[in-house]
Assembly symmetry: D3
Amino acid sequence: MSDSKQLRDYQVDENINGFVLLKQIDTRVTNSGKPYLAITVADRSMEISGMKWDTTENEAAALKVGEVVAISAVRQEYRDKPQLKFFEIRPTTLGEPNNPADYMASGPMKAKEMEEEVNALLFQIVNPTWQRVVRFLLNQYHEQFFTYPAAKSNHHAFAGGLGFHSLSIARLAQSVVKQYPNVDGSLLLASALLHDLGKVIELSGPIATTYTIPGNLIGHIVLIDEQIVLAAQELNLDLFSEDMVVLRHVILAHHGQLEYGSPVRPLIKEANILHQLDELDANIQSFDNALAETNPGEFGAKSWALDNRSIYKPTEK
Amino acid sequence: MSDSKQLRDYQVDENINGFVLLKQIDTRVTNSGKPYLAITVADRSMEISGMKWDTTENEAAALKVGEVVAISAVRQEYRDKPQLKFFEIRPTTLGEPNNPADYMASGPMKAKEMEEEVNALLFQIVNPTWQRVVRFLLNQYHEQFFTYPAAKSNHHAFAGGLGFHSLSIARLAQSVVKQYPNVDGSLLLASALLHDLGKVIELSGPIATTYTIPGNLIGHIVLIDEQIVLAAQELNLDLFSEDMVVLRHVILAHHGQLEYGSPVRPLIKEANILHQLDELDANIQSFDNALAETNPGEFGAKSWALDNRSIYKPTEK
Amino acid sequence: MSDSKQLRDYQVDENINGFVLLKQIDTRVTNSGKPYLAITVADRSMEISGMKWDTTENEAAALKVGEVVAISAVRQEYRDKPQLKFFEIRPTTLGEPNNPADYMASGPMKAKEMEEEVNALLFQIVNPTWQRVVRFLLNQYHEQFFTYPAAKSNHHAFAGGLGFHSLSIARLAQSVVKQYPNVDGSLLLASALLHDLGKVIELSGPIATTYTIPGNLIGHIVLIDEQIVLAAQELNLDLFSEDMVVLRHVILAHHGQLEYGSPVRPLIKEANILHQLDELDANIQSFDNALAETNPGEFGAKSWALDNRSIYKPTEK
Amino acid sequence: MSDSKQLRDYQVDENINGFVLLKQIDTRVTNSGKPYLAITVADRSMEISGMKWDTTENEAAALKVGEVVAISAVRQEYRDKPQLKFFEIRPTTLGEPNNPADYMASGPMKAKEMEEEVNALLFQIVNPTWQRVVRFLLNQYHEQFFTYPAAKSNHHAFAGGLGFHSLSIARLAQSVVKQYPNVDGSLLLASALLHDLGKVIELSGPIATTYTIPGNLIGHIVLIDEQIVLAAQELNLDLFSEDMVVLRHVILAHHGQLEYGSPVRPLIKEANILHQLDELDANIQSFDNALAETNPGEFGAKSWALDNRSIYKPTEK
Amino acid sequence: MSDSKQLRDYQVDENINGFVLLKQIDTRVTNSGKPYLAITVADRSMEISGMKWDTTENEAAALKVGEVVAISAVRQEYRDKPQLKFFEIRPTTLGEPNNPADYMASGPMKAKEMEEEVNALLFQIVNPTWQRVVRFLLNQYHEQFFTYPAAKSNHHAFAGGLGFHSLSIARLAQSVVKQYPNVDGSLLLASALLHDLGKVIELSGPIATTYTIPGNLIGHIVLIDEQIVLAAQELNLDLFSEDMVVLRHVILAHHGQLEYGSPVRPLIKEANILHQLDELDANIQSFDNALAETNPGEFGAKSWALDNRSIYKPTEK
Amino acid sequence: MSDSKQLRDYQVDENINGFVLLKQIDTRVTNSGKPYLAITVADRSMEISGMKWDTTENEAAALKVGEVVAISAVRQEYRDKPQLKFFEIRPTTLGEPNNPADYMASGPMKAKEMEEEVNALLFQIVNPTWQRVVRFLLNQYHEQFFTYPAAKSNHHAFAGGLGFHSLSIARLAQSVVKQYPNVDGSLLLASALLHDLGKVIELSGPIATTYTIPGNLIGHIVLIDEQIVLAAQELNLDLFSEDMVVLRHVILAHHGQLEYGSPVRPLIKEANILHQLDELDANIQSFDNALAETNPGEFGAKSWALDNRSIYKPTEK
C-alpha cells in the first residue's frame, strides 16, 4: 500500500496488498464446523472488518493486536457496509513498516501544536494556586495528555483526542469569558485543562484502548480528584483553602448530574459552564462522527453517543 | 423620590416618599377580621413587598397594577428579607411621573443598541430563504422583540430580555461557527434570532407579565412555528422545501427533550447546538440572578430556575 | 394462486405458484460468499419472508418493491415461524394481475362506507368554525384520509387504517357524549377526525410505508397544527379566537404527555377525553393484533406496541 | 335554614342561622395565645370552612364530627374563597334535624335507581362463574356498595360515589362491547362492578371518610381479590380454573401499572380496557370537579387529581 | 460417564460418553436448508449447549425435556464459551440411569437438613396466630417448599432453592433480632418462611421450570396472600385482627417498591427489614453466581440479575 | 430543672424553670408589627420550640446557639404538638451549668465502650494494607469518630452517632461473614469502619450541626476517599495495588446508586454488602425515630427519611 493510497480509497472488488494496523482478531467456527478468522484492521483513513475463510490452528496466535501487519485482501460490500475478504495476513518482517502510530487515526492537531497552545493558555490562569496545580499535573502526565484518546469509543476516540478535547473546551471557555462579565477565567481554564486528565489512568493507552481496573472501579472523575489532592500535598497547598475546594468541586461536578457519575451537582457558576461546554464539544464531535457516515438528504444509523437518535444530514449547505 | 435615590438605596427604618411602579395589590383580612393591603412595588433597582395595615373599602380599587403610584412608607426587615410598611399609597396626579417604563428593570443593553447589532447579524444569514423569513418576522414583531421579557420570572425576566437573550445566543453561535468547521452559520443565526419569538404571543407584555391563553394552550414553541408557516405562505416559499423543514425543525427542537416541551428531539447538528447555547445562556443568567442575592463565601437560597440547587459564591475572585 | 387461496391457507411443504405483493428484497451473501435473495411478500391474508438461495447479479434489480410479482415457492417452518423457500420470482407480464391494492391487507371497512359515515358525522359538528376547518382539511386530503395507514407498523398499519382509526374514535366519542353531560360533542368530533391527519404528510403512503423527512423532523402533531393554521388563514378565521385556540390545543395535546410528543398536556376536558379514546382504540387494535398470533390458553410473544407485555389469550370465550 | 336555602345560596355578609353537617373541628391558638375554633361544615350544596374567634375550653369537645349541628354565622370572602365567621355552633336538640344523610352531597343517582340498573346488568354476565361471584359479593356488601364514596377526596368523593363510578364504567363497557367485536362483555361487566369493591373495606364509610388500617396496609386492590377468593371457596368454585384466574387478574391489574399499585400489568384485553375506562371515568369526574370551581375563559387552580394541571374552561359551549 | 466425572471436568477435544439431563431440544435449519438439532444438557456441575449437525425427522420427537438421555459428544470451545458437538443422543433404556434428580444442580443443603432447621425455627414464633398460619401452610406445601427453586433463572434457581433462600433470610433475621432491640422476631421469622411460598404456585416445579398461568396473571406475592387468607378461614382466625392484617402486609410489601410488584410499600418496621434481608440474600447469591464464571483479577459478563453490572473478582483474598 | 426532671417529663400547663441547650433563636415580627422571639431548646430527652411574645432589641443578640441558657416557661400544646411559651431566657452566669454536652441527646453507647469494641474489631482485619489504613485514619480522626453525629438530621443525628452507626454495620457484617462463605471479612470490616468517616469533614461538629463548605462542594464520599489516598501516600502504600483500588471502590460505591451520590456502582461483592447493611441500619434507626413519635395502633406523620412513608405501629408486640 503506497503512502498515498489509504483503505478508504479502494473500490469494491479492488485488491489490496499492503500494511495496516491490526485492531482485533478472533478464530471462529462456521456452522459446518470449519474455523475461520474474523479480523478488524485500520489505517488513518478508516477501520474495516472481514473474514479469512481458511485458517490454521496457530495463524491467529502469531498475530498481535496493536501491531502493524501485512495483508492481501479484496474490498467487498455487505449490507451497504464495506468489508474485506482476506487472502493472507502476517506479521511484518525486518525492513517493513512497524510503527503503529503511522496507521492510527489522529485528530485535527499535532501534539506539538496542541502543546504550544496549552502553554500559551497557562499564562491566562492568573490564580497562582490553580496555575501551580495545573502545571504540576500537566507536567506529570505530559506525554499521555497529548497522545491518549478521550474515550474508548464515541467522541474523540482518536490518539491525541484527550488533549484536543480539553483544548477545544478551553477555546470555548475563552469565548464565554469574553462575552460574559464576572466569569472566573482562571478557574474555567484550569478546570478545562484538568477535567478529563483522569482518563490517562482510566484508559490503557492510545492503541487498542480498554478500561483499566482503576478505571472501572474508581472512574476518571475521582481519579483526577485524587491526583489533584496529591499534587496539593506535594506543593504544600492547603487542601481546604477555598481555592482548592472550589477547583476540586468544579472538576468533580463536570458530568453535571449525579446519574452521569458526578458525585456532586455543579453549585458554582464556572462548574456549570464547564459541564455545558464539555457536553457541547462532545456533542459536536459525535454529530460529526455520525454525519461522516450519513448521506446528504438522509437519516443516519441510530447513534449510541447521541442517545439513540438517528440524525439528519441536510442536502444543501 | 429623587431620580438618584432608588429603592435599593434605603436603609432599614428610613422613610420613603416617592414614586414607584405598582406590581400587585390585594385586600386581605387579618385573623381578627380587619382588612389590610398586601402590596408589591418596584423601580429599576428592585422589587419589594409589604403591608398597609389600615385600608378602606375602595382603596385598592382606585389603584391599577402596571401604573406609577405615589407612596409614603418605611423600610423594614423581616426574616432577613427587606419589606415596606406603607402609610399611604395613591394614584399619581397631573404633573407627577406616570411613565411605567421609567420604573422597570431593564437589561444591560438599550433597544437601540440591540437593534443595530441584530441588523448587522442579518447580513450573515446568507441563505435567502432563512433571511427572508427572519426579516419578515422580526419586522412583524419588531417592537415586541426588543421590549418583551424572555420569561415571566426566572432568567431574562426584564423588559428587553427577549431581544437580549436572543442576541446573546447569536453571539455564542458566532464563536462556535468560528471554532468548528462545518457548522451552518446561517441556520444557527436565523434560528437563534427566531427561537423564542413565540414569546411575544405567549406572554402578555413587558409590564405585569402573565401567560396569555394561547401561551398556556399552545406554547411559544408551536406559536412561532405557526408564524413561520404563515410567513412562508406570505413569501411564497415552498413549505416542504428542505430549507423550510430544517428551519422549523431546529426551532421546534430547541428545548432539547420531549419532556421539556419540544415535540421533536434535535436531529440536526445545528438544532443540537442551538439547544445547548440556549441552555448555557439561560443558566449563566440564572446563576447571575442567584449570585446577586448571595453573600461571598456562602450558599444562596434554593433556586427554582437551577433545579433547586443552592449555589455557592466564592469569596475571592 | 386462485382468488380463494391465500398465503395463510398453505400447509408446510405445500408448493405455491401465484401472485403476491413484493414488500422487500435484498441481495445478501452467505458465509461462504455466495449471493442470495432475502425476500418478503404479502397478500391480504399475511406477510411472509424467505430466501431464494441462488440468484444472479441483476435478479433483484428487475423487481420493484410495492408491485405485484409472480412466485414459485414452497412453504416451510423455521423456529415456529412460517417461511418460504423461493424457486422463482419475477415481474408480472401483460395480462397477469398487477394491481397492488388487490394484495394489500385492508381494514374492516371499505373507503366508501367510511366516507359515508364521516359525512354523516360532519353534521354533528354544530360549531361553524370547527366544521369549516374540518370540511376544508378533509376535502384537501380526502383521498389520503381513506387510504393511508395510521402507522408504519403497530396498530392500524393497514391501508385505510387512518380513516378507520379516526372513525372508531369518533364513535367512542359519541358514546361518551351520550353518557356524560357537558362534554362538547362538536369539539370532540372535530378533533377526533383531524387528530391524526398529519400522518398524510408524516408517512409516505399506503404501500411500503416509511416516514418522510418532514415526518421525522416535524412530526404529525405539529404538521396537522400547521395545516389547521393555514386553513384558518384561507377561511379568514381569526387565529386567536377561542375556537381556533381550543381546537389547536385539543389536537396538539392528544398524545397526553410531553414525553410522548405532545408539546402541551391536555388542559381542556375534551383534550383529555380525545387522548384517552385514542389510546383505548389503539390498544384494542394492538391487543387484537397480538391475539391473532397467540394460541388460546397461551401467552404471546412480547409486543412492542403493548410496552413489551406478553399477553394472554383465554381458552374459553 | 329553610329546606330550600342551601349554603351555596348565601351572599357575602349575609347571616346564616340553621343546620349543617359538622365535618371537622379543631381548637387552635392565635399568635397572641387566645384559643379559637377552626370549623368545617357542609350541606348538599357545598363544604365551607371558617373560624369562631372566641371559644371555651369544652366547646369543641361537646361537638361530634359527622353529626348535624346548629350554627349562627356570617358569610365572608377571603382571598377569593368563601368562608364563614361563626358566632355560635351547638349540637342539635330534640325535635331538630339530626339525620346526617340529609346534609351530605350525593351523586347524580339515587341508590334505588343504581340498584335497578345494576340488577339489569347482572343478566348480561352470561358466564355462570363470574355471575355467581358478582352476585355473592354485591349481596354481601349490598348497602356499602350504594352508599360509600369511591374515594376519600378527589373524584367520586360523595356518598354513593362507589356505586355510581362502577355503574359509569359498566355503561362505557357496554358501548365498547357494542363497537368492538371479540370483547368479552361478561368479563368486562363483572370486573367493572367488582373492581373497586375493596373500598368498602379500605374506607371507613360515607361520613368523615378516612382510610382504615387494612385500607392502608393492604389496599383495596388486594382486599377485593381476597374477598373473591373467599367467595369462590364458599361457592365451591375451583380457584385455579381459568375463569377464576382471569377474573382475579382483570381486577388486580386495573390500575394499569405497577407503580400505581397493581401487582400485575394488564395481560388480557379486557383487563386493559377496564383500566382505561376506569381512568376515563375518573378523569371526566375530576375535570368536572375542577371546572365547577373555574370561571369561563379562565384557568383553574392546580388540581392534584389531574397531576397538578391547571385546566382551562372555554367561554362558549 | 462415571459418577465422579462431571461435565465440568472434560477438556476441550475430549470425548464424552454418558448420561445427562435434557434441558432443551429444537430442530432448526441451516442457511443451506439442512435440519440440525440445537441441544442443551446438564448435570450437577454445569449446563452446556451444542449442535448435532445431522438429524432425522423424528429424532427430536423421541426425546423429552426433563428426562435423562444418553449422549456421545466432543467438548469444544466457541467464542470463549464451552460447547458440545453431539454425535448421538438417545433416550435411556432399561437398566440405565433415569432419575432426573441425580443430574440436577442442588443447593448447599439437603431437604432433610433444611426441614430440621425450619422445625426448630417454628418454636421461635411465639405469637400463636402467626405460628398456626405458618405451620398450616408449610404443612400444606411441605414437599414443594423443600424441592422447588426460588426462581426460573437468576438467584437460587436450583432444586431446593426456595427452602434454602427462605432459611437464609430466617438466619439473617435472627442476627438482626439479636442486634436490635424492639424488632418483632416472631413476625420477622413467620414472614421470612412464608414470603416466597407463592412460588410453589407461580412456578411449574423443580425440573424445566417455567411460569404457570396463575404465576403470570396473579404473581407469587398475591398468590401467597390468598393462601394465607384461606388458611385463616380454615383456622377460624379473624381476617381483620391486627395480627392477620400485619402478617399480610409484611408479605405483600416484601418487594419494597410498587414498581417491583408489591401492591403496598413497607409501612411496618419488620416489613422493611424483611425486604432488605431478601434483597441482601438474593444479591449475595447473584454475586456468587457471577463470580463462579469470572476469573480472578477480571471483570465478568454483564449480569442481568445484578442490573447489568459487570462485576470484578479480586485476585487475592 | 433538677437533674432528674427532663423536658419530656413536664405536663401541659406546668411551669419550667431550669437550664437547657439553645438550638435556634430568631427575632420575628407579628402581623401587627411587634417583634417576638422564636426559640428552640433541647435537653437529653427532647427538642421543643416556642415563642417569647415580648422582646427587646438586643435580647436575641445576647444569646448564643450551642450554649446552655436559663429559661422560665410554661409547657403548652399546639395542634397536637408540644410547645413552650417563654417568659424569660438568659445566658447562664458563673456557677450555673454551662457544659452543652450535658444537654445533648446521646446514642445508646458511651464513647469509651464504642472505642473498646472498635479496637477489638481491628484485629479481625487480617489484611495488613487495610488494617494500616484504618488504624491510621481512626487515629487521625479519633475524637471526631466517637463524638460526631452521622447526619445533620434523620438517622443517627445524635452525638456519637457516627461511631455507633459504623459499629452497628460492623456487627451486621460479622453476622454476614459467619453465615456466608467467601465473604472477605477484612474488607467488609475495614470499609464499614471507614465508609462514613468523611462526615468528620462534611459536618461542622456535634453541636448545632451544619454542612461545611467542603461538605457541600465535595461530599463525604469523596472526602474520605481523598483521606485514604493521603494516608496511603503517608504509609508508602502503592496507590494502584489491588488492595488499595478495591478498598477505595468499596467505600466510593457505598451509596449503591449513582443518583444517590456514589460515583461508581458496587462492582465487588463486599461493596454491595456494605451498601445494603448501611441502608438496613439507617432504615432501622429511621423507623425507630418515627415509631418513637407514633401511638400504638396508629400511623405516624410522613417521614422524610423513609421516603415520605407514614409508618404503622402495631398495638401488640
